[in-house]
């Protein structure tokens, strides 16, 4: 009986120690978490697309020019994928669209490092020389920290 009593005593001790260690570990992990970094990055991604649209860089559909500017806007330690899809109306009523493959493009920077990305999307129009809508476009920017 005495041996059993000591075994139960030791078992209680071990259980209490495990509970304490687990509780402390959880507190430490929670204390170390940064919950606003994703929010920061999503704001930056959204700013980038809006700014590119507002100063008409996005409208050029020039992948090289867009990439040069985008690289300057986004943090240096980020990786990103920008996917621009260009659509045109199939008829004068414009009830259906089809993707214009030659003008659509994707820019990738450090795609192999992708981890917990944030995504920003923007829809924009491009106009022809007569100021009529030429194309309907969708830009999707995926950004992450390397």
């Amino acid at each position: 009986m005495r041996g059993l009593f000591f075994s139960i005593d030791a078992l209680f001790g071990v259980i209490i120690a495990i509970i304490l260690i687990t509780a402390f570990s959880v507190i430490m992990l929670q204390a170390g978490e940064n919950r606003t970094s994703g929010l920061f990055l999503s704001k930056i991604a959204d700013d980038a697309l809006v700014s590119l649209d507002k100063n008409d860089t996005l409208d050029t559909l020039d992948s090289s020019k867009i990439n040069t500017t985008l690289a300057k806007i986004l943090p240096k330690n980020s990786g990103y994928i920008l996917d621009v899809s260009v659509f045109q109306c199939n008829s004068s009523e414009c009830l259906t669209f089809s993707k214009v493959v030659p003008q659509s493009f994707t820019i990738s920077v450090a795609p192999s490092t992708e981890k917990n990305p944030v995504i920003a999307k923007r829809v924009f129009l491009t106009f022809n020389s007569n100021n009529l809508v030429d194309h309907f476009n969708k830009a999707e920017l995926k950004v992450w920290l390397r």
């Binding site: 507190i27 170390g32 704001k43 930056i44 700013d47 700014s51 100063n55 008409d56 806007i73």
Partner: protein
């Protein structure tokens, strides 16, 4: 004789056992207190950091997404309720920026609602040439948080930096 011998040693074992258990318990208690204090300190640091981070996000949002209240606050600051630096979303207004950077430090902090923090504000080109700046340079900070946002000024994309520190 044998039973006397056992009794004597039995008492010694109990005393030794008691002393060892006491040492272990006291050590555990001290370690637990240390852990608890350390955890509390880390948690407080984290709460302070998250508070300042969410403040810097809302201040930078206010600057590059809002025109302020009233919209023409820069013409008469006597009626200013809040400051915003754009005409419309992400399109900066040069007059509003000029008025803001020429305000006194405390006045600017009050309008931004960040009287508890120090701040530094900068508008720079994508090539890092500074166009406008105001606020205090960072010195002896406990926590520093910088928010770098992008906006458009006269059709040019610029960086808008808001730095808060305590």
């Amino acid at each position: 004789m044998e039973s006397y011998y056992c009794k004597t040693h039995k008492g010694q074992v109990s005393m030794t056992e008691f002393a060892m258990v006491s040492v272990i318990l006291i050590s555990l208690l001290l370690v637990s207190i240390e852990f608890w204090n350390f955890g509390n300190m880390k948690l407080k640091e984290n709460i302070d950091r998250e508070t300042i981070e969410s403040t810097v996000i809302s201040v930078s949002d206010q600057m590059i997404k809002s025109g302020g209240m009233p919209e023409d606050w820069y013409k008469n600051t006597n009626t200013t309720v809040s400051i915003g630096l754009v005409d419309y979303d992400r399109n900066l207004n040069r007059d509003k920026i000029k008025k803001f950077v020429n305000m006194s430090y405390d006045e600017a902090r009050n309008y931004l609602g960040i009287s508890n923090y120090n701040f530094y504000f900068k508008v720079s080109s994508l090539e890092s040439s500074v166009k406008y700046q105001t606020g205090k340079n960072i010195s002896n900070p406990n926590i520093v948080v910088n928010s770098r946002r992008a906006a458009v000024l006269d059709n040019e994309i610029v960086h808008v930096d808001v730095t808060l520190w305590q």
